[in-house]
Assembly symmetry: C2
Homo-oligomer: 140 residues x 2
């Protein structure tokens, strides 16, 4: 196995994470943080879900998702649909505002990434996407 490649990945991942961590904390393009964004996206793509399901999918603690969901509800980006079979449970659905905010935020992110990668070839961009996806899937 090619140790050099692994070392390179190991280092560059550390750098990437640290870099983007600080960017997200200071800058904050729109009104959404990364986690909020992923929640809205998930709901838009796969439909309403409760905090437990979301927490499992994201591999986060339920309490973490609960707070994020509460914040999103408070901003009127999500609303609750009570579970008819279980008085404790509910699921979360996008409001119209949430849908709009999601779309705006996604556009901003996309724009930023497009700028960052403007000198890349199409081939490189495609491969980078594929490999990132594959990497994320290795975690599951």
């Amino acid at each position: 196995m090619d140790v050099h490649a692994l070392e390179m990945i190991e280092l560059e991942l550390a750098i990437l994470i640290r870099r983007t961590t600080s960017i997200s904390s200071n800058k904050k393009f729109g009104n959404l943080d990364r986690s909020a964004y992923l929640i809205l996206r998930r709901i838009k793509e796969k439909g309403a879900a409760g905090v437990k399901v979301l927490a499992e999918e994201f591999k986060l603690d339920i309490s973490t998702v609960s707070r994020q969901a509460a914040a999103l509800e408070h901003k009127d980006y999500l609303y609750r649909i009570p579970d008819p079979l279980d008085g404790r449970a509910y699921s979360l659905q996008l409001t119209e505002q949430g849908t709009k905010e999601l779309s705006d935020y996604k556009q901003e992110r996309l724009k930023r990434i497009t700028e960052l990668l403007e000198d890349w070839s199409d081939e490189e961009r495609k491969l980078f996407g594929v490999l990132l996806e594959k990497f994320n899937q290795s975690f599951n």
Copy 2:
């Protein structure tokens, strides 16, 4: 330009960052967090440096690096070398313990990544490393 590839990168980056953020906060393989690790590594590879230089290289606030350096000094992983020309300044060098800890930690990280990527081809690993590096460089 291939919008689909960009969208994929955009999404997978968000996922990657969130995932690794939570891993580093809960798990913590060894005694080092990511930033501490990058500092030690930088010093090992490029020699002693003061907090200002490190902060610039890492694009972090000086105060952040100052605290990290203080923590590493406290653990006896780094020691200060006073600047002979400027009574305020100093640079940081690895202690023997720091060198050892760095090497152990790096091994652990490498091991973990090796496991994660064990099903990948050499070619894929190599490309992923190269593209991550290129991506990180786009930030500069």
